[in-house]
């Protein structure tokens, strides 16, 4: 298993958000996690990414990690091109070939020299995603990754997700809606602080 989550628990004060969450994902698997608003999906992903500490349980990530937060976390004053430069240093990448092709694929190239604050929310979300993808991580955690995407970009997103799967990458997608679950290899429903395996073929949740 590339990603193993065992009995993770997390409370905010007296409110238990995660009680006993467990999940396993292997190479080349697209895993979906769905749940209602406030079910703890973002808390789970933040723990998996190391952004937040769990109260109990273990997380094992076998490989490099990419994390795409739900709301774009970018610097409004900088351009997409400047973001690439910063993350190139962060990920210690020799070149930006992959980032460049993702720019082309998601149609961001035309905006690469505009400050992020002038970009539409969908375009920001694209940059948010590219920053998480550009170092080709073995495990990718995506929190509502297609929020604000138009239909065409949404379809491109699934193309990218399928290419990642073919390349043996593990992708965890968190969403409040169980759309397109037939595209997933495994689906979990987060409720009552636990992850319940669910059939990945139902079109609606």
């Amino acid at each position: 298993m590339v990603l193993t989550v065992e009995h993770v628990a997390k409370s905010y004060g007296s409110r238990a958000v995660l009680r006993d969450a467990s999940l396993h994902a292997g190479h080349g698997q697209l895993v979906g996690v769905v749940g209602e608003n406030g079910a703890g999906k973002t808390t789970l992903l933040r723990i998996l990414s190391g952004d937040l500490d769990a109260d109990a349980g273990t997380v094992h990530v076998d490989g490099t990690l990419g994390y795409c937060p739900q709301h774009p976390v970018l610097d409004d004053e900088l351009t997409p091109r400047q973001h690439l430069r910063l993350f190139q240093i962060a990920y210690r990448l020799p070149g930006l070939n992959r980032a460049e092709s993702l720019f082309q694929e998601l149609g961001l190239a035309a905006y690469e020299r505009q400050p992020v604050k002038t970009l539409s929310s969908g375009t920001r979300q694209k940059l948010n995603l590219i920053v998480a993808l550009m170092h080709d991580p073995e495990v990718l955690l995506l929190d509502e990754p297609y929020q604000g995407f138009d239909w065409e970009t949404y379809m491109r997103f699934w193309d990218i997700a399928h290419h990642l799967r073919e390349a043996g990458r593990t992708v965890v997608i968190v969403s409040h809606l169980a759309y397109d679950t037939q595209r997933l290899d495994a689906l979990y429903r987060l409720s009552d602080g636990r992850l319940h395996p669910a059939p990945a073929t139902g079109a609606h949740g």
């Binding site: 190391g50 997380v59 094992h60 990530v61 970018l74 910063l86």
Partner: protein, 260 residues
């Protein structure tokens, strides 16, 4: 080195894009200094300089100009740094989690603080020199720079607790009023109270008054400035390191891949 250079370059670039701060710099600083110069009386005021104990006689307009310029640079640099720190706090976390060297990010912040404070102080002193020849102009720059740095660090410090720019600005304005009003030798009867030595701008005001009206240099007040600067920066930087750490206590990542 490249990590530091890039982070610093982008920090300075973003600082230079803060339009409100630039307008305040261009308009507010000269306005404050000009108003102080033209409205306050040029009549000589006797006052005791706390730092050395000597009694000086100086024009009320010049004393008000010094106090006004300290007030203006404090508010401006405080706001500028607060605004930058709020804007980048989540992004810094993301960069650090992705593996960006935190030391480089931190050094870039300190460089941006120093650069902003230096530019604002030099500009404010240049405006004062238009109206008046202080006896030690270099020392005056140092005094104004100390206030700028302290309030810049205070901006970084306040950004840890306050949610938005309005809250930050109000807090900085209130602090600056409480700080400068009681120690102004012209306006306040409290200027001789020993408690004023604890105020953040005490070192700056005493040093600026020395720079303006004496040929001497007593460095003790600047030790007070240094203590304020060190304390505020230390808290802000410690909080930055705490916020940008990656939690690994409950995880078992492969050690060779810890910097994802």
């Amino acid at each position: 080195m490249s990590a530091y250079r890039t982070a610093t370059g982008y920090s300075l670039l973003a600082q230079a894009k803060n339009r409100l701060a630039l307008i305040l710099l261009a308009v507010f600083v000269p306005l404050w200094i000009t108003v102080a110069k033209t409205v306050a009386t040029p009549a000589l005021f006797p006052f005791r300089l706390r730092a050395s104990g000597e009694v000086l006689h100086a024009g009320g307009d010049k004393i008000t100009m010094i106090s006004g310029s300290l007030n203006a640079v404090s508010l401006l640099v405080g706001f500028w740094m607060f605004s930058a720190a709020r804007r980048t706090s989540a992004f810094d976390r993301r960069l650090a989690a992705a593996g960006y060297p935190r030391g480089a990010l931190l050094a870039a912040k300190l460089t941006a603080l120093l650069a902003t404070a230096t530019v604002v102080s030099a500009y404010a002193v240049a405006w004062m020199l238009l109206y008046w020849r202080p006896l030690q102009p270099g020392l005056l720059v140092l005094a104004v720079l100390a206030a700028s740095l302290i309030y810049g660090a205070m901006g970084l410090f306040l950004s840890l607790f306050l949610p938005g720019e309005v809250e930050g600005m109000v807090a900085i304005i209130m602090t600056s009023i409480i700080d400068l009003a009681p120690q102004n030798p012209v306006a306040a009867t409290t200027a001789n109270n020993p408690l004023i030595t604890l105020l953040p701008s005490y070192g700056s005001l005493q040093t600026a008054l020395q720079a303006g009206f004496t040929h001497r240099l007593t460095v003790t007040p600047l030790a007070n400035s240094l203590a304020w600067l060190a304390a505020l920066s230390a808290i802000a930087l410690a909080a930055f390191m705490r916020r940008t750490r990656v939690h690994t206590a409950s995880t078992a990542r492969r050690p060779s891949l810890s910097g994802y």
